[in-house]
Symmetry: D2
Subunit: 286 residues, 4 copies
Amino acid sequence: MMTGINNCGILGGDRRQIALAEQLAAAGFQGYICGFDGVTFTGNVHKTTLGEMIRLCNIIILPLPVTDDGKHLKMDFSEKKIVLNDEFAEKMRGKRVIGGMMDRLYCTSSVWKQIQTDDYSVREEFAVRNAVPTAEGAIEIAMREYSGTVSGSRCLVAGFGRVGKVLSRMLHGLGAEVTVSARKPADIAWIKSCGYHSVQTENIGGGEYDIIFNTIPALIFDRPVLSSLSGCSLLIDLASAPGGVDYSAAEDTGIRALLAPSLPGRVAPKTAGAIILDTVCHIMEE
Amino acid sequence: MMTGINNCGILGGDRRQIALAEQLAAAGFQGYICGFDGVTFTGNVHKTTLGEMIRLCNIIILPLPVTDDGKHLKMDFSEKKIVLNDEFAEKMRGKRVIGGMMDRLYCTSSVWKQIQTDDYSVREEFAVRNAVPTAEGAIEIAMREYSGTVSGSRCLVAGFGRVGKVLSRMLHGLGAEVTVSARKPADIAWIKSCGYHSVQTENIGGGEYDIIFNTIPALIFDRPVLSSLSGCSLLIDLASAPGGVDYSAAEDTGIRALLAPSLPGRVAPKTAGAIILDTVCHIMEE
Amino acid sequence: MMTGINNCGILGGDRRQIALAEQLAAAGFQGYICGFDGVTFTGNVHKTTLGEMIRLCNIIILPLPVTDDGKHLKMDFSEKKIVLNDEFAEKMRGKRVIGGMMDRLYCTSSVWKQIQTDDYSVREEFAVRNAVPTAEGAIEIAMREYSGTVSGSRCLVAGFGRVGKVLSRMLHGLGAEVTVSARKPADIAWIKSCGYHSVQTENIGGGEYDIIFNTIPALIFDRPVLSSLSGCSLLIDLASAPGGVDYSAAEDTGIRALLAPSLPGRVAPKTAGAIILDTVCHIMEE
Amino acid sequence: MMTGINNCGILGGDRRQIALAEQLAAAGFQGYICGFDGVTFTGNVHKTTLGEMIRLCNIIILPLPVTDDGKHLKMDFSEKKIVLNDEFAEKMRGKRVIGGMMDRLYCTSSVWKQIQTDDYSVREEFAVRNAVPTAEGAIEIAMREYSGTVSGSRCLVAGFGRVGKVLSRMLHGLGAEVTVSARKPADIAWIKSCGYHSVQTENIGGGEYDIIFNTIPALIFDRPVLSSLSGCSLLIDLASAPGGVDYSAAEDTGIRALLAPSLPGRVAPKTAGAIILDTVCHIMEE
């Protein structure tokens, strides 16, 4: 793992970076971290200032997303703020900088064009692996909010992308009666081959479901569709903002609709940190 | 379902009885209920006083357990109290009374010997079906409390009884790496045939697990065993009180141990209510 | 494994005993075998005469069943015959003799009362483990004989005993739509909890199935039931002789009914041999 | 299904076309068929001469592949031969002609450029659905040829394309210990998320497997790799000809290697016929 990495600095982030730092240290590497003021680390994790990190490390790992507001580095565990500008970028010259949603960083300074950067969040294997904590987070919500058991319930998974694939397999494994929606004949064929019921996404309306999981980033669950699904009591929306549900119509029709974004970091920071670490390793090895 | 039942009274209980009453009504029967002061019911559920229920109903369904303290009827949703004594039993003369853990009721009056009673909680199919909400409740706790994903984690299920069987299948279906402990060679053979790892219960110590679920009502997880399981961060104890864990030793060894009793009624009252209803129906049909 | 066994003799049998001998040898033990004239063994398996085996071995493993005709030892791979009588039993004095369906042996001589014998075929774990090759053999037949795929087909498993449990899980895992029949409410509850459809055994008639697997040793599939299942094209009868099907009626109604007994030894002798070996080991350890 | 089709002719083929014709008839359509001399059909299937079919039908369904030798129509059930040339193509003028591997047909006459043709065999959903009978056929071979049970055996699936995906899920469902090989990090992530072991395809050598399934159409199993897999006794090659195995080296190393092409039509003609029919319907509806 990460052969030849002597000095790796983790700069900013949330609980995923805490897990990442501890896993890096557990693997036998020196881990430097900055931006986690009140956090106590175990093992070979060393807290540094930004200056020390620049001096000691040739690889810098940034959070996902690298910034929430477009102006400051994401640092959930620090009172201080690091401004993203030319000055910050200049400090990174000569280093390898790897972060998530890096487009937001590139907007903050033209200096980044001259620095070797990579984005772990755009990698296919990163997205695939994050589908697991996303699906599991959705199931946890369903178990908590639904008044029956997920096992034996009629679940609709709208969309058969990465999250849809993992989520439908887990629900099936729990014993739910799973229907999955898709548009393409090949996806419908895959859905059937897995032993799930299938439905064309445009024909979702009128179905009988106890719990609905939406993974499609488009307004599939509009007022007419929601009105036709009155037997359903819970709709969990996993699509990235603004989601795929008319929340006002959901309220009117008596369906509890919950927007559940960013599940991996919230429900399984340890796993989410490991996914970042593994993806960074793949990037380094290439 | 329940052919010939004209008048069924639900007396006392918790959220399971609310679900039970609504399902009975949804099935087309008149449902009478007493002991749910602030609760609003839908459909054909009629709130009554105890006196009215005695007058109207020939079948009375009591809660599980019929009493918590041995002296009063379990009534979680009422300020009032109904004392269990000869007077109460006399009121039930001529009726068919069906409840859970009825031994506790029989202790309160010798009159019960002269009344037709049944206990749904001792039925095998009742226990089997309740294993599903119990297992699902345990998984919900694991998902919430464990910092990684259950999928991919190393889980030990101690005991291969009803809950152990359902729980191990669900964990396997979620993608966990499942080890199950048992004592009998035939159970070990069953465990292997399901594709799980097996371990003799007496050899649980020293194993490498992320999450442990105990279903055995005996002190399996004592100080020596807990000390040998230091990689484990979470232990969920599903055994009935007093459980199967030395909680003081768990704290000392850094393992979070959680006692999780009575899961069906808490996590899935709708399902738990349906299970009571179906079992009562089986009793009536025999 | 089998600590303290210096000299173990395998006397008679079929392909399972060949596998058993080679596995015993592969585990580092001296294996002596008699009754396999034309068979070439690998490793530490030594062919002996009966006389040599008596002289060298203190443990003798007999086949399953120990005899087919009640008079001679089962020896599928030998031209010679060993008669089961007082003389044979006398030779076994002082030895530990372990075989399958030993009741048939005890009938051949009263001397057996004075010899330490065990029957591996009556052990619960033996029956559980043999359910796997039995179920897999049944699926192989279904795949070969059914003109569609088992995946996606509507399968009925009649009976929820050991073979029924394993078979229904495998069919479900292959993607079949599985219905299981049982009589007891608790079994029906188990079936539902696994995500299968359930049916009361007495109500099997009239169902729509592509393939039926019978595991019930009673005449469930009589003429009236078979006549009501005309959509079914294949019925595989796993019940021990005489099976559970009216074969004449099956022919009349156009259902191909196949009696498939003794599957483990025929389809998976290696696994079946390992199951005998493991069970013998359990017996020795007790 | 197939709205507006009055007259559909099935010309040539194998057992799949027999199933296709009977399913078309069972769905209520007039089915005309030519090229099945000795076959008796049920229901609304009408045998015709080629001339009659030309006169009666506006849609013609050709076999998969449309020709084996490049010169004659594939007609496994007829003594007669239909030559593929300009004359044959001229007869199809004005009709809609749908077949499999149609490139081979287009080579036989330039007239085809002026005819509306479609190829069902190049459709994604066709390939997806055929993965099911292919995988099941492979499992049937494994069950028949392997001396143990597939359940509990260590299986390697080389390649995570369509067949690899379905095959690994079925093997897992049967209880095998499944390892899947792939090259891309995203595929490795998918494999792990399904609960299988993963291995880089280039690192297959040296692994410990009982049964190997190859789905990769490249020489993965060459002499060095095969020599390093001596524990393996059975290798089933599902890659299209010439397959992915050095068969001479396999023989030298004691591994039974079986080439198993064209499984859908051979093991599950009924399912394979239904897949052709459904795909033709999709083509007609577009």
